[in-house]
Amino acid sequence: MSRRFQRTALWSAGLSFLFAALVAGAWVVKAQENYSGWWLPVNIAPEYGQLQDLMFNIFLVLTSILALIFYALMAYAFIFNRGRKGKKGFYTHGSRRFQLGLVAFFTVFVIGGEIFVLGQVTGDVWDRMKQGVPENALRIEVMAEQFAWNIRYPGPDGKFGKTDLELMDEENPFGIDEDDPAAGDDVVTVGRLHIPLDVPIHILLRSKDVLHSFFIPVLRVKQDAVPGETINVWMRALKTGKFQMVCAELCGLGHTAMKGSVVVESKKDFQAWLEQEAAVD
């Protein structure tokens, strides 16, 4: 490769890198301040949720820079390497050294970036999110069905009554065995998940028929519900209010109507609500 060719490639890459960093930075700042329902929704989750958004933004900056470098190179070629009649292209096959360097660069860049991001930024958050349910968490059972979210609280005794698929019907969506002494005080609701503020919640996620997916956008939680399995999900809400809970996995005819709400309230309000529900039962 000729000197001139190399120099041009280097310069255009360098300049476009600067330009790209500027544009990407401005874009991210702008997107964050003008929240309009076209971007990441409100985030009421603690560390695990904030880190998800941070990662999203890191990727956004990184990919924007890469894309702009790439487009700058293309634009350079379009402007300065337009074909004319009789004008030949620059004959080069490149060199083995350049290619080895290229592969090495991308390998170090990608693997290094991966190790850095996983090690320094998110650490073991993935593990803690998927496996590290806090000991003191409030346990709530969620049973998905076509096309509703059934929710069960263990009641004052803190124990869930036994369930059996054979006992399931419209009146008894969980198939609770009423003979079990622990079952008497269980509270069952449909489509409304009440949770106390700032308390870790341990969801025992089940499905009775097909796949569903338990998705609460503001809490940055999503997990498929799989029939035949009980999957542990945990979360914590830092803000009171009523939020949307949806099914994110196609589950049949009524999929588009399968939704519910999450009501985050103070511990006192939550306790009052739970006692009231238990009395109704």
Binding site: W39, H93, F106, E114, W126, M168, L211, R220, G252
Partner: protein
Amino acid sequence: MTTIDATPVDAHDSHAGFWGAYIFSRDHKTIGKQFLFASMIFMAVGGLLAMIIRWNLGFPDQPVPLLGSIMGEAMVDDKGVILPEFYNVLFTMHGSIMIFFVVIPMLNGWVANFILPLQIGARDMASPLLNMLSFWFFVVAALVVLSGFLVEGGAAATGWTAYPPLSALAGMGQTLWIVGVAILGLSSIMGSVNYITTVIKLRAPGMLMMRMPIPVWSVFITAFLTLLATPVLTTAMVMLLMDNSLGTSYFLPQIVVSGELMETSGGRPVLFQHIFWFYSHPAVYIMVLPALGVAAEMLAVFSRKPLFGFKTIVYMLLAIAAMSFIVWAHHMYQSGMSPAAAKWFMFWTIAITIPPSVILYNMVVTLLGGSIRFTTPMLHGLGFLSMFLIGGLSGIFLASAFTDIFLHDTYFIVAHLHYVLFGGSLFGIFASIIYWFPKAFGKMMSERLGKVHFWLTFVFFNLTFFPMHFLGAAGHMRRIAYPLNYDHLVSSQLLNTWISVSAFILGASQLIFFYNFIASMRSGKVAVANPWEANTLEWTIHKPGHGNWGPQLPVVLNGPYEYSHPEVEADFLPQTQPLKAEG
């Protein structure tokens, strides 16, 4: 095989008659064109379904214009508004048709069949019979899947991924879908065996492996993916068919459907996902690599430069193919599989970005210092390059299990996959059709109409699919018929309407392409033997008849990308032409 090699046949299947020459032809060029025509018809069907999807999302609760009155009562209500159950059919069939009956057959049927023997200097495929069967299995598969529209309960409605238990519980339309996809698998396997054998055994004298043009390499490597992955899909389909129709429980645990305890037990739904994605992740590369090969060819030919880092690109294609078998579960981070396993898949999924990055960088450097001719096929090649990049980069967000928690099953995925399959594959397919049109039909496609079509497609493609990233970031789930049902999606409805309007213009723009295709075939400018001044072997024969070359097969002397060689006066050097003219 030796008989094909030794005996050229000059006439176009002269003694075969109409049926033998055009319908049950064994000529690779005719079969390639058959794949092309059939896939174009399916593209129109799949595109129409997409338009109806967009109508429902952009203009909810309003009757579908024109079509609303002729659609059956299983599809629309009495006012002509789409029913939610039909909406499920719409996106299922749109996805299935576009993936199984447009992108895969266009690349591994049309491009592979028409180009591969011509570019390596073979007279035909190793087994013309198998080749013909491959096409007809494909047609049968498509008809079986589409016949779902005619049976009670309508066509399949469980997404192109057909996850059980839903798909195992579904009716006749789903059963036909499963059978159709299994048949398509057989078609793909037949094709791939043929391509591999042809490349290994039937190259012209002097056609060393490293003298094979990049489209041949990409089809060749893709054929290995198809051969290794498709049987797994076929297995999954057979198991699913048994769960669906014969009462087995491979994927079904004990479940209660509408209050009734089913007689199923012991199966695991997640098992299907593992088997399905073990095929379908390599299938993503089956759907993209040949298009990448075509785009790379365009860049070299029209930059009048050697393809930069040609050998590296080949090695990187091999690396992608190998790595594509160990990343499948990145589709399943939230499926309930082991979170520890997710980390292994995350590592490899991010690592698999290395070879495509190297390839794309080499493709861009091919442009630098070139003498670029902005012809229509080149524009589509550049379309591939610029749009596939976005598809690749947005994949990084999804590759990370952590950010995928929020983005999984949202429109971010829809945006990502359309940037790969439309922005990538389809631009590659358009490039291949326009570039090899003169070889296939002896005419040139109109450049003027071609450019109008390209720019409309390029602009409205981006206006349609780029905003879907924003929808996904806002938490807009895919596969929902009525976004307005959800509190958190009300504010993004304007965006949905915007996307729909763009999509309609994008859809309408494709009519220009269809018109250009048909009109040019009838009355296009007559093509010369080598209209693009390219090096590869297919341009050495003017009108390839049956057997392609005359008594003498071409002898290959150069690599495929000797453009603008300093010792040659012209800016190209055909593979058969000696570098120094003798005497």
